[in-house]
Structures are given as C-alpha cells and as structure tokens.
C-alpha cells in the first residue's frame, strides 16, 4: 500500500499523537466520564490506522508478520481473566469480586479494580482491531510479492 500526499503526511504527523493521547485519556477516565476500555481502545487503534494509511506500509516496515499485535491482544485478555480470578482467592470467594479498597468516588485512583479492567480491555480492543487491519494490508502484500 502506497502513502498519500505530503499534505496528508504533515497533518498526520501533527494529529496522530494527539489522537493517541485522547485514547489513553478515555481509557484512564473510564470510571469517571463516558467512555471506557472499548471506546478508548478503538481510538488507539484509529491513530495507528491513520499512520499506516498516510505513510504507507513500506515506510512503517509492515512487511513482516502481525506477531506483535496478536501477542499483546492475547496477553491483555489473559491479564483480564487473571485479575477476575483473584476475586476467588480473596476473602469473598466470588468471581469478579472487587476486593481492592474503593477510595473516594470521583478521584482518578478509585473504584478498586475498575481502572485496571479498563486498561486491559483497552489494550485488548486496540490490538484486536489493529490486527484485523494489518491482516488486510499484510496478506495482500504477501500475494503481490
């Protein structure tokens, strides 16, 4: 896949980092404001997709396998499952028990496990959607080679 014109490239340079930071903000504030892991993860994947579309797959060295994103995706859902399993080991013996201290509602570090769940779901969603897009790009280049 070829890159786009110099206007698109320059705009992408300015915007991609801000989109990435906005995705992280949406994920981290998931328990305070609307949004959360799913929406923020898709925004994170969107910044990478913008980079790939603007600069082309040659510039990004995308001719290799899509190994990195699949590993992140599987590790993230494994961590999500393990965090849920810790509820069984803690006092209540309940799956998905929120046994960390809740703190003051409304602060950034509060609500026990919920920010951690949001972070891992965000990583998982971002890696999944990026993997699907990479599969469409890479497998076509493999055939054309």
């Amino acid at each position: 896949m070829k890159g786009m014109t110099v206007i698109v490239k320059k705009t992408t340079q300015l915007i991609a980092g801000i989109i990435f930071l906005y995705g992280i903000y949406i994920i981290l504030h998931g328990h305070l404001t609307p949004g959360g892991g799913f929406a923020g993860g898709v925004i994170l994947a969107g910044s990478f997709i913008l980079l790939i579309l603007a600069f082309g797959s040659d510039f990004m060295h995308l001719l290799k396998e899509e190994k990195g994103s699949t590993i992140y995706e599987n590790l993230a859902i494994l961590a999500f499952l393990l965090l849920a399993l810790t509820g069984l080991l803690a006092g209540g013996k309940i799956f998905f028990a929120n046994w960390l201290p809740h703190g003051t509602p409304g602060e950034l570090v509060s609500a026990g496990f919920m920010p951690l769940y949001n972070i891992f779901v965000g990583i998982e969603v971002a890696a999944s959607i990026l993997t699907i897009f990479l599969a469409l790009v890479i497998f076509k280049e493999e055939i054309l080679k």
């Binding site: 799913f38 994947a45 997709i49 995706e73 769940y117 779901v121 998982e124 999944s128």
Partner: protein
C-alpha cells in the same frame, strides 16, 4: 424528541434501502455509514453518551476498513438473474416478515410504554451503585462489576473474531 428520533430513523431506512439497491459498491458502503452515524445522533438524543462514543469510533473504523477493501477489489456488483429459485427465496422472506410483524403486533399490545416501568433490578443498580462499586460512571460500574461475565464474554468474542480473520484471510501457508 420522539419526532426527531422518528425523522432520524426515517433517514436510516432510506440509507439502508439505497445501500441495498446501489449499483456501485463504494456508494453502498458510504450509504451504509448513514445508518451508523444516524444511530449516534439517536443515542445522544436518548442520553446515552457511552454508547454514542463507542458507536461513532467503531463506525468510523469500520467504514475506513470497508472503503479500503472496496478500493482494493472491484466496485461493480455481480448481479444474478431473477430465476425461479429467487422467487422461492423472496416468497419465504415475505412470509417470515409477515409472521414476525404479526408477533410484534401481538407482543407490543402487552408491553409497558417506552421508558417507563423499569425493572426491579434496574432500580437496585441505579440507586446504590456508586456506594457499592465506587465508580462515578454508572455504566462502567455495571459492565465491570454487576455484569462482569458479560464483559469477559465480549472480550472473548473479539479475540475469536481476530482468530477467524487471521485464519480465513491468510491465503499463503505459514512456514513453521
């Protein structure tokens, strides 16, 4: 409010009809985007910002991927002939539609009005959720605490979808 939602739903139906009948696949994909973005406005009018954010970002990414796929392949739709088998299919579809509409009419006669008479569980979620979960955003409190299994299932569905895409789209075998 109900008038605005009715108008937007009318736009969605028009977009979907155009997407079905368009000869050019690229314009069909763009017309399909009308449905998604109108749904975003519906969610905002119904005061569901969480759903609206998820819907607008997912719709954008989906549209980009679909446009990329269409631009890489053909834009012309392959039309088949309308033979006797197509008549059987169309007749079955109309029959099932009629049955579904009849059941909808029967069922909606006994339903509560839209937005009223919430369930007992919903009251328990809304009234005590901040104290019990510690999360100010009630939606996150519900999907990660009361409905944790649901979220785990959704994440698993995403992983399974990626596995399916990687399995089906890979045309050349992998060297071990």
């Amino acid at each position: 409010m109900e008038l605005a939602i009715s108008v937007i739903v009318g736009f969605m139906i028009l977009g979907a009809l155009y997407a079905i009948h368009a000869r050019d696949i690229l314009s069909a994909v763009i017309a399909g985007g009308i449905v998604g973005y109108s749904l975003v406005i519906c969610f905002l009018l119904l005061k569901a910002p969480d759903l609206a954010i998820v819907q607008i970002v997912v719709e954008t990414i989906t549209l980009i991927i679909m446009v990329a796929v269409v631009l890489d392949s053909s834009r012309v739709e392959a039309y088949g002939k309308f033979d006797s088998r197509a008549w059987v299919t169309a007749g079955t579809a109309v029959l099932i539609l009629a049955i579904l509409f009849w059941f909808l009419k029967e069922a909606s006669a006994h339903l509560a009005p839209f937005g009223e008479n919430t369930m007992r569980m919903a009251d328990a979620y809304v009234n005590g959720a901040v104290d019990r979960t510690g999360s100010v955003n009630l939606v996150t409190g519900v999907i990660f605490d009361f409905r944790g299994y649901d979220t785990l299932g959704e994440a698993t569905v995403l992983v399974t979808a990626v596995l399916g895409v990687l399995t089906i789209l890979r045309l050349r075998g992998k060297k071990v």
